[in-house]
Amino acid sequence: MAENTPGTFDPVAATRMVTSLGHNAAIGARYVAHGADWMELAIDYREDLVGDTTTGVLASGPIITLMDMATSMAIWVRRGALAPQATLDLRVDYLRAATPGRSVVGRGECYRLTRRVAFVRGMAHDGDPEDPIAHVAGTFMMTDAA
């Protein structure tokens, strides 16, 4: 279990924990980088995650999972603690199809944190951050807030 005391949150260890089983493990999510209020994760291209066999393009579902995870972990990074929270809503704009064969990097940012609600945004790209494949915006609810 990752450390739950403010200021001692370890994003690398936390990623290892949340990707060790379940759906995050199934899509093969892994740690890339993090900052004060952001987190970057990635998934590799896989044929079983394809949404359209005629084009070989990844389905949008794995990208939502990646962004849900990157934005929710960005909240932990900003808080400096792993706290229970639930996604309230998440909007994803699919700017273009991901290129078949390429890994997808998802960057989540927590740009506003209140006691009960966290506001997040993020983007996903497949090699060039200047040419994103998706933009996301969402909110999370702190489930431990009084």
């Binding site: 089983l21 995050n24 079983d48 394809v50 005629t54 949008s60 995870m69 994803v92």
Partner: protein, 136 residues
């Protein structure tokens, strides 16, 4: 009775199956560790995946008789209303409008009670017809 829609590899990866229903296809997602988020709960990403498959599959089913037509997502907004528990999840979608170029779809996910939604999604899709004319 209509045939159930053909599902992409990602839907099979999630474990989704579809059956034809009176008002469009009904989608099932059995609980498995591979769709679990925090312990004992369905992952929000897997729920979003199910909702998207329901939206896309329902539109494709409606367009079944139009050869060469393809659709792709422009955006999706998912609202999470209840935690998904360790049981089977169902999903269905309503086409609000199917135009020449754009489809507006709403998808719903529930578990034991259809009146207790665990999540919903609103999706805007681009429809590509081989010889599209007019405004979508």
């Amino acid at each position: 009775m209509a045939q159930p829609p053909k599902l992409p590899p990602y839907a099979r990866f999630l474990g989704i199956s579809a059956e034809a229903g009176e008002d469009g296809p009904l989608f099932h997602l059995p609980f498995a560790v591979s769709v679990m988020g925090r312990p004992h709960f369905l992952h929000g990403g897997a729920i979003a995946g199910l909702l998207e498959i329901a939206a896309l599959g329902t539109v494709l089913e409606r367009l079944r008789d139009e050869p060469g037509v393809s659709i792709k997502p422009i955006n999706v907004t998912v609202d999470y209303m209840r935690g998904g528990r360790e049981r089977e999840t169902f999903a269905a979608a309503t086409i609000l409008r199917l135009g020449t170029r754009i489809a507006n779809v709403e998808a719903f996910a529930w578990q034991e009670d259809r009146d207790k939604l665990i999540a919903s999604a609103r999706m805007t899709l681009m429809v590509r017809r081989p010889k599209a004319t007019g405004e979508g």
